[in-house]
């Protein structure tokens, strides 16, 4: 897994965030180890949006935490603008913390009921003492609310968070990260928990962010919506990248049998189509991953070779990488 995944890079601009052979292991009772992330190399390029998709247990959340420096890598590195994030101190660390913003799934679940939209959106700016004057803070909030289509901003700025609907709260969650003027946003399941009739509204904000050149990473299990607002898709299985490429290519013509199973299982709003469960059984325990290809016990095409030999992530077609012995 040494090779960098080819996220097409504009000339002359290195990645904002990159990981190299990243491994995160957790110690379990009895001396066992669980590899949540097992050798992930990827680049997040300026003005691009990256989707990381996988089921529970795929390691996508741990990977996200490691990008944010919330989780320490066991081996391998995470670099922010070329510098190892674990070595950042003082001013550099504060700059990193401002530049890489996480949008949690409804972060207002346990919020102080007295918080207003203004309080929520400016919290980071106030705590980081980036801006203090009331007028400037209001301008920041107003701009952030417009970007998430909560307009006119005057109508929302003094409302309490608790009076907002789920979709509006998710927009405020995005606005409060945008207020920090970050270089990368990392979003955890930004739309999948929202009701269908309002989900499209948040998707359209994500599309706008993409068009305006905001760099972001979306972590999700929902491969159906991620295609609307990501350029590149990374599919993870048991801590490893099994496929990556342009999102539209991966979704319309997946190369790895796991990606194929994931996409065939997505229900679509069309009664003439029926979901198929191409993969047998359930995801294995990450503390005892299967030998060879980790997907082999569930794979409909598994051969003897898959049981013994671990496939490397390789360029199967131009710009399309998959870790399967038989992908073509």
């Amino acid at each position: 897994m040494g090779e960098a995944i080819a996220v097409s890079q504009p000339r002359g601009s290195g990645p904002i965030l990159e990981t190299r052979d990243l491994k995160v292991q957790f110690k379990l009772k009895g001396g066992h180890k669980l590899s949540a992330v097992d050798g992930v190399t990827l680049s997040i390029v300026r003005n691009q949006s990256l989707g990381i998709a996988g089921e529970s247990g795929s390691g996508k959340t741990t990977l996200g935490k490691t990008l944010l420096r919330i989780q320490k890598p066991t081996t391998g590195t995470v670099k922010f603008e070329g510098r190892d994030v674990t070595k950042l101190r003082g001013k550099e660390l504060r700059e990193f913390q401002r530049s890489v913003q996480m949008v949690f799934q409804d972060p207002f679940d346990a919020i102080d009921p007295l918080f207003t939209v203004f309080d929520a959106v400016t919290e980071g700016v106030r705590v980081g003492r980036i801006e203090k004057s009331r007028d400037k803070l209001e301008a920041i909030v107003s701009d952030a609310l417009k970007r998430v289509q909560l307009s006119p901003p005057e109508e929302f700025i003094h409302r309490r968070i608790t009076s907002l609907s789920g979709g509006q709260r998710q927009r405020v969650a995005i606005a409060r990260s945008l207020a920090m003027n970050p270089s990368v946003l990392v979003l955890d399941e930004p739309v999948s928990m929202l009701d269908a009739s309002v989900r499209g509204g948040v998707i359209s904000i994500m599309e706008d962010l993409k068009k305006s050149g905001t760099t972001f990473v979306t972590i999700t299990h929902d491969i159906a919506t991620v295609r609307f607002f990501t350029d590149t898709l990374v599919v993870m299985y048991l801590g490893q990248v099994v496929e990556t490429g342009a999102t539209k290519d991966v979704v319309s013509d997946p190369l790895h049998p796991y990606s194929q199973a994931l996409i065939a299982a997505v229900p679509v709003p069309d009664p003439s189509y029926h979901v198929k469960s191409l993969a047998k059984g359930e995801i294995a325990n990450a503390a005892a991953p299967p030998s060879g290809c980790r997907f082999h016990p569930r794979c409909p095409y598994a051969q003897e070779r898959c049981r013994v030999e671990e496939p490397k992530l390789r360029e199967v077609r131009k710009g399309r990488f998959a870790s399967c012995h038989f992908a073509q």
């Binding site: 529970s56 979709g167 309002v198 299990h221 159906a224 679509v268």
Partner: protein, 326 residues
């Protein structure tokens, strides 16, 4: 909505919860029939009243919930005036079983799976422990779980296995009707597909009639013969699954249909502006009117009833005629 082979029929069911802010009108006069062998998909957003409708039919509402109904008939038997005791012995689980929402968490972590089967049966029928376990083992096999898991504790099972166990448990007393509330919502996509396939096998194998509740119209399109669309406590449309997707009448159904992505297509998706109403203070008239792109004066004043249109298609919209396919 009369139906010759109706196995479950509900007339004018209302459920109101008392809340500190005042009464919350969760279900507002719902009537429908479930045909024998039919799977009715019930779709709606959070707060639309789908789960409350199910709990109302089963009379399992929380203490702050009050219900009224003209009739609720389960296999020809009116249960409205039935005592709790009779309901337990003659209806619940034996005729009509229920798989609750987040049912993976409905299993008690302190008891082995087998004991939970025994306890469930004991609440509704007199069957020997050994017979229950034998039957449970057979059912577990049918739902794709190793019968040895009867000896396991729920926390030793994965989410998908727990959901399979819950489905097996619902079927232990051979009910004719099963109500499943969001049975796949907490599951990963591939496991969801497995459970949907399993449910299709089980319903034909056991000749079940069912109500399948989901917030996800794509899941419903996969599983249902007929679909009821709920909005703000009412059924706003009911039709065959193909009509709901091909010829939706109600503007809410139309909007919902367009809000859902299709992974196979790169079609832009839209959304319905605004948010579902607060059911303590619902809007007057048609409760969808504040979000409806076709709203007229009449919609703000008068609540449209659910009316029949050709092809066993029902809709509650003042302007339904506009969208009825001639």
């Amino acid at each position: 909505m009369p139906s010759a082979t109706s196995i479950l029929s509900v007339r004018d069911l209302h459920v109101t919860f008392s809340t500190p802010r005042g009464p919350l009108y969760a279900v507002q006069g719902i009537s429908f029939d479930l045909g024998e062998g039919e799977t009715m998909g019930l779709v709606g957003e959070s707060g639309s009243g789908k789960s409350t409708l199910a709990l109302g039919i089963l009379r399992l509402l929380p203490l702050n919930g009050k219900w009224t109904a003209k009739s609720i008939s389960v296999m020809g038997q009116d249960v409205v005036s039935m005592s709790e005791r009779d309901l337990n012995s003659a209806v619940r689980w034996t005729k009509l079983a229920y798989v609750p929402q987040a049912s993976q968490n409905a299993l008690d972590p302190l008891y082995r799976v087998g004991d939970q089967f025994v306890e469930t049966v004991a609440a509704h029928a007199k069957v020997e422990r050994e017979d229950v376990l034998k039957k449970a083992g057979t059912l577990l096999e049918q739902v794709g779980v190793d019968p040895a898991k009867l000896q396991s504790y729920p926390w030793e099972l994965s989410g998908g296995q727990k959901q399979r166990v819950m489905i097996a448990m619902a079927l232990i007393l051979e009910p004719k009707i099963v109500i499943l509330d969001e049975p796949t919502t907490a599951l990963d996509t591939i496991i969801q597909a497995q459970i949907l396939e399993l449910f299709k096998q089980m319903r034909s194998f056991q000749k079940l009639s069912s109500i399948f509740i989901s917030h996800d119209i794509s899941v419903i399109s996969n599983i249902a013969d007929r679909v009821g669309v709920m909005y703000a406590g009412s059924l706003v449309e009911m039709a065959s699954v193909s009509d709901i997707f091909k010829n939706p009448i109600h503007p809410y159904t139309q909007g919902l249909r367009e809000s859902v992505p299709d992974v196979r297509k790169n079609k832009p998706i839209s959304f319905i502006p605004g948010t579902p109403p607060d059911m303590v203070n619902p809007p007057p008239g048609c409760r969808f009117h504040p979000r409806c792109p076709y709203v007229q004066e009449v919609c703000k004043k008068s609540d449209p009833p659910l009316l029949p249109y050709p092809g066993d298609h029902y809709a509650a919209c003042h302007f339904a005629e506009r969208w009825v396919k001639q």
